[in-house]
Symmetry: D2
Subunit: 377 residues, 4 copies
């Protein structure tokens, strides 16, 4: 049987492998070959010209490859931007075979251990879509390819819709050099006219792909490419998507709880209605408490999305993020939601990603918590 | 007797007077001549080349002058920077004579009203220091001039040290053009070598002036100019200082509670130990609850200071604010503390000012709350 | 007869009137009532949240009004952004009646002066359009209103098409708060979805209005709103347009040479093919030399437009301006063209405005030079 | 005998090796083992948190290592910041043994070639200093270690002082995390208090090291650490230094002409007196023309330094770079000087590095040109 483990390690720079090396080589908690996915926050601007994501991925790939892993099959979701208190870090998802037969256990370990009992716990599935053409990014084609990929990842994980709590996707964007290959005639999409905007459209189409796969929206809602970044009534409550220059396809990571898990971790989620909705963090934690008792768990990491409210207001008061030409609003949104969530969990080493188009309601976003059951004495 | 009133109004731009005009001319809640001080958050970068502060002050002065006020005697504390969710707004402090004799009241109002009873409540004092020479900004000379000014403002308000909850100061900075008048030889201070840095030194010296006036530090602690921006063990728990290009002197506003006040407002304060110390907001609110009962009050505004922790860490985790060359750390610090405090009071129209040198402990800062007693039925 | 004079004065801040006061009150070179237009470079970001433009205009209006001028009829074209070496400054256009009869001259001046002789020289016309609805900004409606306004200004100046060398327009933009009044359904234009983008569309429609008025494009070219910011084959060689939050209409200033002018100034223009086309500056200066002899003139000011080449390349080499999420490309374009032009005229106090949509060819822009004939002994 | 060759290749991103691969593997113009130094412009902010430099170096090292080169002995000078028109690119310096005996030539090549004749041409020397302690960066200790390193590199190249035209140094900076190891007491240097400032002090000390090695300043001028970033009368006319997080030592590359060179390249230099001194570019090119005849050469690359004039003025006019809190002045200085030089050579693929402390006169900087003699028919 397979067991999913989760590790969180701080980084002093995008190419800092010291924490990973410590886990793999010194503490020997897992083998490089068992790494399935890595979600990281890197300290770039999180926008178009953020090369910290690519630097982190290249460094990780080289290390995993040199340690015998099939490095290209790992899902890397590097999200740029650690504005405010956010701490650059990585969350490593490991999946390894565990032995279940008691006799087998005895033979190898020479101790009388009971075989582990399956229970409700964390499981995951991954999927790599094909590369997208420039003219497909941010369109309904992308929505459908992503939806199919999400379903494939769920199937691989044996997850049903109601047990999915986070679908994390890394998606491509369109830089100026790529745009030239498409031309600048009047048929180009909004995504194709502006690099920063292409990030929004790519995140948006990926999120709608999740919503479609999970039945949160109907195929009939997707009347044309125009719904993307426009009709924000359509959204997923568990999608978290992040764009970067360092890939041309979508990499999908589905996280949920399965009844027959051997993991010591669980996942829960909630939805922030707006950037200051600290109650949502408590709600997400409460669902953890229900399963485990009040103090019977420890938060491993929080994963959430942030965006500047498109109405230009939060709680009825004007904000200036959308009209600030010096700092992109995605950067400020991360700083805000990062601070709010970190103040609740009293830990700034959390994953907050910017640009929540179709991810949660407008101005808000999904929030997922992975927690670990406290060890019994 | 004098009565202090407080009004909070949003602004759609630095020169938006519509809210003030409504209060003065439409609702006629106070006269322009009775305005004593105005504290505002304007939507500039809050750093050197932020002209939104000066634009706001110029607009306010022209309006007050045209309505018969002695506009130059008003204290204007415009603090630039509404990063994240912060809403541009002004807090207007009004002080007017009220009639106390019952008969006098009857004569004028033709109704049987009881004369107001004095009780513990908000009071204020103001002081304008002399202009500073460029070579004095950020030095012990400034500390001493400010300390004397704070004492003068307290005396004017009849406030003793233990009842002071907020000393707000607007102080000057040194732009490049001014620096040239001093020369660039080796005797120039750090403040004189860098415009952005001069803001920190001016805020720092002003804050130490408050600490000195209130006995939070001893004159013996001030061994040389080098303690400024260096020995952060020296700080005030009630100072809030803010630098701007639009003045050459310091404008001081002291706020506290007096036993014989006729104001319907109170002020309380606490200290944030770090940027994520949301508990401090609750503590500041609790002291309000003690006087008024649990729901017997309403928060008018929160005033607090923010800074990127100079150790490079918050709660033991690395932050990247000090090494970010794209966004000044004072901007990010405002976004963070603004979000944390706004999430507690569920109101983004609060006053958060950046750069807390010697204002609260390193990485933290003072937080004051003005609240209004709920009206009894 | 009327005579146009031009004055250039540096500013130490957006509200610095010292240079203007010196000309009007100390040197008494002209009266405040005779000011027709003021073009300024202010030191903001030149993008959406640039309040230095509004601050400068408010300060100028208050001064002119207090000196008896019809301040609202003056055309104010404040262009934000003095990136790189550019020096904040104002160019003041003054038009006053001069006496032509010799006897009249004798009577008033008590000296034997010859009446001035008209010759080819600078003239100008101004026009204020009506305010635009939010949904009109950046559309063909705007193009047509501007075209009519340009013609009206030319008629007022007695200028024919071939003698027009610069049409400067200040136009509005759409901030987030205004956008809300239009709604966010799918019929909104690109200009209405993004404040920074709305600046481009407003500049673009204004420039096409100039091109239409001058016959540089045909009404048949304007097939739909989609040509705006799309078909860059359509452009004007003399339009210079600049957007700002501080107005809702367009203010138009047409500059050219008339055969019967009494001005000591002339204007010439050329077109920069790309950002490094320093030869265009020489060409514009040469046309000055043709009229005046090699050293018979002095450059008063240069007015030009700058934009990041939309192909992502300059002279076949990649530039990174369009993919830089930290600094808006209009800011960098001003820095580049400002440096190139300033290095040719060896004067950084020039007018370079960003965003040259439909103003000159893609990646390039118009450049106009006002020069003054050298005084003869 | 050794021959130095120079290749310039554009990059589409910091990790783009396609140009290098083409030269080494497709065109086979040189072997990876023969690469001595690589100078690059990468598209980061060129300030503290610029990881594009490290990403480029890591990618290059991995490639060179995999092709058998002693990758750690190559000098990598990646300079961040391609503001404005500057094109990300690399200049590869290759040094290989060439055969001089005619018979040997005949044997191997089976053609009758004359052995090459030595003449005045490009030569180079490199040196890697030891790692610096944090408290040494930006001090006289660094000056002396660098001076010794420059002399060692000159000796290795057989270069005498008068033939040195460019000394390029990559030097370290102090990030916040490193600063903590030193403590924050009052004995810390300016460089240790501020990451961005530490870049200036590191560049400054390195440049003074060059000046000392070449006799441009005397050891007696270096009275104390205070001269660094203070007494700008002390400078080198050929030093170009660039700081980065990606190293802890200094890497030194000395370029000059030797009489017995086999290179087809030459180097010349001049000094820009200020940012708009385009005449200096012509002067540097002229010295090339003297040797080669008017059209007998082709510019391979230009290497120059840029800084915002510390007086706050260029040509007597105010600039706003030093008071701009949104964009660091080193970024704008690169945009300006890059545009000026590129407009003269009509090529934006040039090397312009920011921060010219003690490199050329205040506000100006050294400019070197590598050119190649035109091939004779």
């Amino acid at each position: 049987m397979k067991k999913v483990s989760v590790f969180k390690i701080p980084q002093s720079s995008p190419d800092d492998l010291s924490g990973l090396i410590d886990l793999v080589e010194v503490q020997q908690l897992f083998a490089a070959q068992d790494v399935v996915a890595i979600m990281g926050k890197t300290e770039g601007n999180g926008c178009v010209n953020d090369f910290t994501r690519g630097f982190a991925v290249a460094t990780l790939k080289a290390y995993l490859k040199s340690h015998g892993a099939a490095a290209d099959r790992v899902v890397y979701v590097m999200s740029g931007g650690t504005e405010g208190v956010l701490t650059p870090h990585m969350t490593i998802f490991v999946q390894c075979e565990i032995s279940l037969s008691a006799s087998d256990g005895e033979q190898h370990e020479h101790v009388h251990t009971k075989p582990p009992t399956p229970r409700l716990g964390l499981t995951l599935g991954v999927y790599h879509t094909r590369d997208f053409l420039v003219e497909e990014i941010g369109t309904l084609v992308m929505v459908e390819v992503v939806a199919a990929g999400v379903k494939a990842a769920m199937d691989a994980a044996g997850l049903t819709t109601e047990h999915v709590h986070l679908v994390q996707i890394k998606c491509p964007l369109i830089v100026t050099a790529l745009r030239k290959t498409v031309g600048t005639d009047m048929t180009t999409t909004a995504a194709q006219q502006d690099s920063y905007k292409s990030m929004a459209h790519s995140r948006a189409a990926s999120a709608l792909g999740v919503a479609l796969a999970l039945g949160e929206i109907s195929p009939l809602d997707l009347t044309s490419d125009n719904v993307i970044c426009n009709n924000y009534d359509l959204f997923s409550s568990v999608a978290s998507t992040s764009a970067g220059v360092e890939l041309q396809n979508c990499e999908i990571l589905v996280l949920g709880n399965a009844p027959d898990s051997y993991s010591d971790c669980y996942i829960a989620h909630s939805v922030m209605a707006h950037a200051l909705d600290s109650a949502a963090v408590y709600r997400a934690r409460e669902s953890a408490a229900i399963v485990n008792g009040d103090d019977g768990y420890k938060v491993v990491n929080v994963f959430c999305k942030a965006e500047a409210d498109p109405t230009g207001q939060v709680l009825g008061c004007r904000h200036t993020m959308l009209d600030d030409s010096d700092i992109n609003h995605t950067r400020m949104a991360r700083a805000v939601v990062g601070a709010v969530v970190a103040s609740v969990v009293q830990d700034p080493m959390i994953y907050v990603s910017g640009g929540a188009e179709h991810q949660g309601p407008p101005g808000g976003g999904p929030i997922a918590v992975i927690y670990r059951a406290a060890q019994k004495p």
